[in-house]
Amino acid sequence: MNGRSEDDLVASCRKADELAYADLVKAYSRRVFAVCFGMLGNTHDAEDLTQQALLKGLTSMNQLRQGEQFGSWICQIAKNLCIDFIRRRKIRRRILLKRSTAETGHSKVHPELESAFTKLSEDYRIALLLYYFDGRSTQKIAESLGISQDAVHSRLSRARKQLRKLLESQGDA
């Protein structure tokens, strides 16, 4: 973030320096995208909702009490927008994700892994996406989800375990 802290950038944004927000966008877009993709399973919708969440963050900046909580705050905004989106479209998550695997097309992952991945619970999916999308940092995941690092470790372990089980059951089928 050009050596500036979240507090500093948030303070600048509050003084109508919108270009300071560009630094926050660069730092957090991957995380927000991971949350949105984890909830929606569709690249196109995930991009839209990520953009909406980040823009909402800019216009609602005065509601953020502490600058260093920007990460968890913006991820919560993204989650809420995704919940509203899913409710509005009235599409069951599995159907949406099944459609998305056909739509993404450009993924380098083998189809079995994608299929198993979409069957994971939302919390596990988001934790794994955050891990791989944002530099494999459990500390960043803890900040984004507002949970402890121990909870993140536990969640990642369980996510891998469940994924492996799903892959093995697909292999057996």
């Binding site: 993924s107 990642l156 891998r160």
Partner: protein, 185 residues
């Protein structure tokens, strides 16, 4: 062995996530050297790890696209703000705005003054000239004319003449004779 393998598999999960404490890593490696099942499990998890990494990598163009779009939106918003701000400054500084502001202030003051209630009006004293006698009114007019003609000197002379005229007189003198003496006719 099976119970031990169950515990080891939990450790393998932590190991792949990079969260296994260092003191447990050596024991784990020792078991993996001897147990094909657990070793196979580790290989499978590593393969999943690689595939998930590739999956995240495949999403990077979408994220880059998103960042670029957002940066453009932010630049545009900043530009719009600057233009609006500059427009406002130009409007405020223009002579037309200043004149309009002055007119508003003047009208406001006028309205304020005109709407003062009757209790605020100061009653001016009514002059009492209409209540005086014609003789007194003539005297005032005469003194006024004298002042305008020659200032205080003329007024003093007028007063002296009046006093002289009003000095004790023979009781049989007529008004005409009195005035003739004063007017020099």
């Amino acid at each position: 062995m099976e119970n031990n393998c169950q515990k080891i598999k939990e450790q393998i999960l932590e190991f792949v996530s990079g969260t296994l404490p260092d003191q447990d890593v050596a024991e784990l490696r020792n078991h993996l050297d001897k147990c094909q099942s657990c070793s196979g499990y580790l290989d499978a998890l590593r393969s999943d790890d690689k595939d998930l990494g590739n999956f995240a990598e495949s999403m990077q163009p979408a994220i880059a696209r998103l960042e670029k779009k957002l940066t453009e939106v932010l630049k545009e918003r900043q530009l719009v703000k600057k233009v609006r701000s500059a427009s406002w400054v130009a409007i405020i500084k223009s002579p037309v705005t200043k004149l309009a502001a002055a007119a508003v202030i003047i009208i406001a003051i006028g309205l304020f003054v005109s709407h003062q209630g009757p209790e605020e009006r100061i009653d001016m004293p009514v002059t009492s000239r209409v209540e005086r006698s014609p003789a007194e009114m003539m005297t005032l007019i005469s003194l006024n004319v004298a002042y305008r003609r020659g200032g205080m000197e003329a007024v003093e002379k007028q007063c002296e003449q009046a006093l002289d005229m009003l000095r004790p007189q023979h009781k049989k003198i007529s008004i005409q004779q009195l005035l003739a003496e004063n007017n020099g006719t």
